[in-house]
Amino acid sequence: MKLMIDETRCKGCNLCTLVCPYKIFQEGTAPNRRGVVVPVLDRPERCTNCRLQKLYGRVLCGVCQMICPDQAIRWVDEKPYNPEKVVIEY
């Protein structure tokens, strides 16, 4: 599953940044079209929910979603990774 911040709702309060136990959020740098500085995700694969929700069938941590005052955080299904061929040139 992939964590998504809904940019039409986020107001840039950065509470998710404060509470995440795995510190996957970081304060954003540039304002988006609405003028809000949305947090950016830093190595989101460390989020237990993203990795294990499908396996356990329930929300695992979810503190960011619960503390977000604007209900802007959602998890969505992610398309499986496409294996890519990497050519190494000497």
Binding site: K11, C13, N14, L15, Q65, P69, W75
Partner: protein
């Protein structure tokens, strides 16, 4: 969790929100948004449906919440949410009634109704979002504004001691009282769930941040700053009681969180 994650079969807290009315009017970093999430998670976890749940609220930022929830809701006059909820509950005891209110709505203008509801033990769950201020009207002092705090009507520092809402409820004879903050989201959800399950009057006081009304004037301008303040000054009930017993000095600004009382008194307005 959202229903889209499980094929739409199970209801998540997002399904209780009126999506056509979001984004809501709350300021950046408002703790009320968090408490709404926790309450809806708790209500959803009880297995209730929007058809048999009613939200009642007074006036203020906290009380705008039912406007964003899909159930039947009653957004009433200032301070009077509890008697309206009493009327609803007594006529239809089978409906689940949850009251959203704020510190001024509950303790100032609604003080009389608050203590009588505690005494009467009417089967309601009251979620009080205590942000120490009158937020909607621009940041005036409320009966819960701490001593010395700045607000628009206490520009020289508040000179009246504040109410301790949880202690007030305990003294008025309430059946079940607990307090958490908007930092402790998991515990708050669990406490609200306990309150919903307990028949009789339950008060869950949620200490929340108001960065715009309270925080800006009291050096807690960022939402995160006040949440950090709450995290650092909340003392778990066990530790608080132990410190009191041992006679240790309580740190200034600290407040206990947890379940204050659970009395199991006979309740009014429970379906027979």
């Amino acid at each position: 969790m959202t229903s889209e994650q499980q094929g739409g079969a199970v209801r998540g807290f997002q399904d209780w929100l009126r999506q056509d009315r979001l984004p809501h009017i709350y300021c950046t970093g408002c703790g009320n948004g968090t408490v709404i999430n926790c309450t809806l998670n708790a209500v959803n976890g009880m297995g209730w449906t929007p058809e048999n749940t009613v939200f009642v609220s007074g006036i203020g930022c906290s009380s705008r919440a039912p406007g964003y929830i899909v159930t039947d809701s009653l957004h009433t006059t200032h301070g009077r949410a509890i008697p309206f909820a009493t009327g609803v509950k007594l006529s239809r005891p089978d409906l689940h009634v949850v009251v959203f209110t704020g510190d001024g709505d509950l303790a100032a203008i609604g003080g009389n109704h608050f203590i009588h509801a505690c005494r009467r033990n009417i089967d309601l769950t009251v979620v009080c979002m205590n942000n120490f201020i009158y937020g909607m009207t621009g940041g005036q002092g409320s009966p819960c504004t701490p001593l010395g705090a700045i607000s628009t009507t206490t520009p020289y520092g508040c000179n009246e001691p504040p109410f301790d809402l949880a202690a007030l409820a305990v003294a008025a004879g309430a059946n079940h009282v607990s307090r958490w903050t908007s930092y402790h989201v998991k515990e708050l959800t669990k406490a609200i769930r306990d309150g919903l399950e307990t028949p009789g009057f339950s008060l869950i006081e949620a200490v929340v941040q108001c960065p715009t009304g309270y925080g800006r004037k009291n050096k807690l301008r960022e939402a995160g700053a006040m949440v950090t303040w709450m995290r650092d000054h909340a003392v778990l009930m066990q530790r608080w009681r132990r410190m009191q017993e041992e006679g240790l000095p309580l740190p200034p600004g600290a407040f206990p969180v947890g379940e204050f009382v659970r009395r199991n008194l006979p309740a009014t307005g429970v379906p027979k």
